[in-house]
């Protein structure tokens, strides 16, 4: 039987090229409406606990903040051309690095949370080193197995990790949920600010350059391996941090929150929102996590049908995700506007 192989699978592009570089060219004049919307949203979210204090929606919003950061951190890794299917595992490393000392040594959460973040960063950076040899689909699959290995190690960890049942009795940070709300909200703002800064500075340009052509990047002195490791370390720092806070918030750490299934859903958040835009992950989390929890929770066992329907609708109608579609619409509108009144707005 002959091999039917000549297919060059390196051509399967993981991070679609279109619009990788578009945001850099965003002109300042277009920023103001966006900024005011963003400011309003932040203000509403900051004041919201006054209205919904103690309700279930607060819990959902706290989870949302966590997942916005985690999904965004996945996207940060992806802009360097790395389709990392181990983000859940990094979150899990952060969670267990915080949970194990908390449960067995009774360390304070204020120590274990940074520990979790640092552990995830270090492990992420160390693991990124051998993985920097792999590209495109091989990288994706390699990290898929990396995630599988991490989960299997946790599951085989005996009493220390609680195996597949998980580890209970992780010490809570606060007794009042409102504090968690503000902690998660604050961490989200800081994390997003960091990621925004990273993406729209020269570091982000380097990463996007590598994603497009690592050879060309090397020829102008942009080291591929170094920048890819940096991207993974940066992403896993936030994933680990959020994993650690998350497990202190939940009081438990369990492997199936960090396994392949969980990771794939994190990726789905990003794809639904739009992998090419900074706000895509946030929108995706809103679409796949907040909307089902707020409006469809009573469906219980039928809830997965709703999420599947959302995925299909997005896949069929919005190849660039929701933000991609919005951007296309606003572009068209503004072009028409400009055509209507010649040079109407030029500050």
């Amino acid at each position: 039987m002959s091999d039917m192989t000549e297919i060059d699978t390196t051509d399967i592009r993981l991070v679609p090229e279109s619009a990788v570089g578009q945001e850099v060219a965003q002109t300042k004049s277009r920023r103001w409406p966006g900024l005011s919307v963003l400011g309003g949203l932040v203000l509403v979210l900051a004041l919201l606990p006054l209205g919904i204090s103690g309700s279930y929606y607060m819990h959902v919003l706290i989870l949302t903040f966590f997942y916005v950061v985690i999904a965004s951190s996945w996207r940060v890794v992806s802009i360097s051309g790395q389709f990392n299917i181990a983000i859940g595992a990094f979150m899990g490393i952060g969670a267990y690095a915080a949970a194990i000392p908390s449960v067995w040594l009774h360390w304070s959460p204020w120590v274990t949370i940074p520990l979790g973040a640092v552990a995830a960063t270090i492990v992420g950076a160390l693991l990124a080193y051998p993985f920097a040899r792999l590209r495109t689909i091989y990288y994706a699959m390699g990290t898929l197995f990396l995630g599988y290995v991490v989960i299997n190690l946790i599951t085989a960890g005996g009493k220390t990790t609680g195996m597949s049942t998980g580890l209970g009795g992780v010490e809570p940070l606060f007794s009042d949920r409102t504090y968690y709300y503000y902690l998660a909200f604050g961490l989200m703002l800081v994390s997003l600010a960091c990621m925004y800064r990273l993406e729209f500075s020269r570091i982000g340009v380097r990463m996007k350059a590598i994603a497009q052509s690592h050879q060309v990047a090397a020829s102008v002195g942009i080291g591929e391996r170094r920048n890819r490791i940096l991207a993974v370390a940066f992403g896993s720092f936030f994933a680990g941090l959020m994993g650690a806070v998350y497990c202190h918030y939940q009081g438990v750490a369990s492997p199936n929150s960090y396994g392949l299934g969980a990771t794939l859903w994190i990726i789905m958040y990003v794809l639904v929102g739009g992998i090419n835009s900074f706000w895509g992950p946030a929108v995706g989390v809103g679409m796949l996590l907040v909307i089902p929890e707020f409006f469809f929770r009573d469906l219980k066992g039928n809830l997965p049908y709703v999420t599947a329907a959302i995925l299909l609708i997005i896949a069929f109608t919005m190849p660039e995700g929701i933000v991609g579609l919005l951007k296309a619409i606003t572009d068209r509108v503004s072009r028409r506007f400009r055509r209507g009144e010649v040079s109407g707005d030029a500050p």
């Binding site: 091999d3 993981l14 091989y138 896949a315």
Partner: protein
């Protein structure tokens, strides 16, 4: 000694199932460039489908088996036409579609049949003696059918017109198009064959073990391991690596306890992948 004999049988059988699943997955991957993350769900659905035909409709197992496989293949045609083709082989979009498909199938079977562990009644009940040892007759049957199918697939790919067209498309899509091969047809064929093979694997596992809506998840990971380790685009590799995985998962549980098996086997696979990033039989 008895353990050794049983282990060999288990290893071979698991290997055959993995190889069948892996080849199906590879067909879809090589021709359409799609990572079919719904492969495990198809595997599970086929097992349930066969169960329904046998238990609820009272079909004899030998009739239900081909019907299930054909139904899965037909489903594959529909999926290719209405789900995969509109995605234009975009990795991200096909991933979303596959996960949606898988979610729908798992949820459906969980809703309607998930409340108890089911099993497809054995095609041939009882055990057969192999020398001094007893082996489940179904296992021998599954093994024989599996081998016949594998030979069939090899002949199909190597000798048949359809197989030749698939090879041509895999190697050079434009060239094949110039020769008058219609890509859409070949793609449909690949997906239906892929789903059919997954269904065969599902029915095997369904007769030998039990059905739950989640059996596909475990198998999907094994299939991904298999295809990647073999090297994308390699068919020969799948046979060897399938055997290796069968060995790992058939033999390791005999010597090691529970979760350690998965941990060890997956570390091994990861190490191999890092040593040979393009798999063992893939092309550089």
């Amino acid at each position: 000694m008895e353990i050794a004999v049983q282990t060999v049988i288990n290893v071979v059988l698991l290997g055959v199932v993995y190889i069948l699943m892996g080849i199906g997955f590879a067909f879809i991957l090589n021709l359409l460039g799609i990572f079919n993350l719904a492969h495990g769900a198809i595997f599970m659905s086929a097992a349930y489908g066969c169960y329904l035909l046998v238990v609820k409709l009272g079909l004899p197992g030998f009739a239900a088996f081909p019907v299930t496989v054909l139904a899965a293949a037909a489903f594959g045609i529909l999926v290719e036409r209405f789900l995969f083709r509109p995605m234009k082989a975009d990795f991200n979009r096909t991933m979303m579609v596959c996960i949606a498909l898988s979610t729908v199938l798992v949820t459906t079977f969980n809703r309607f049949l998930g409340t108890r562990a089911l099993a497809i009644p054995p095609f041939l009940a009882g055990t057969t003696g192999l020398g001094p040892y007893r082996v489940q007759t179904d296992r021998i049957l599954a093994f024989c059918i599996g081998i016949v199918l594998l030979v069939g697939i090899i002949l199909f790919v190597d000798r048949s017109r359809w197989g030749a067209q698939m090879q041509a498309v895999t190697q050079n899509r434009e060239g094949a198009a110039l020769q008058g091969i219609r890509f859409s047809r070949v793609a449909m064929l690949a997906v239906s064959v892929g789903f059919g093979l997954a269904a065969i694997g599902g029915v095997f596992m369904g007769t030998l073990y039990n059905l739950t809506p989640f059996i596909g998840d475990v198998t999907l990971i094994k299939v991904l391991m298999l295809v990647i380790l073999a090297g994308l685009g390699s068919f020969n590799g799948i046979f060897y690596v399938g055997g290796l995985l069968g060995l790992l998962y058939g033999a390791l549980p005999v010597v090691l306890p529970g979760a350690v098996v998965d941990a060890l086997a997956s570390i091994l696979v990861l190490a191999l992948l890092l040593i040979r990033p393009r798999g063992f039989f893939g092309h550089e």
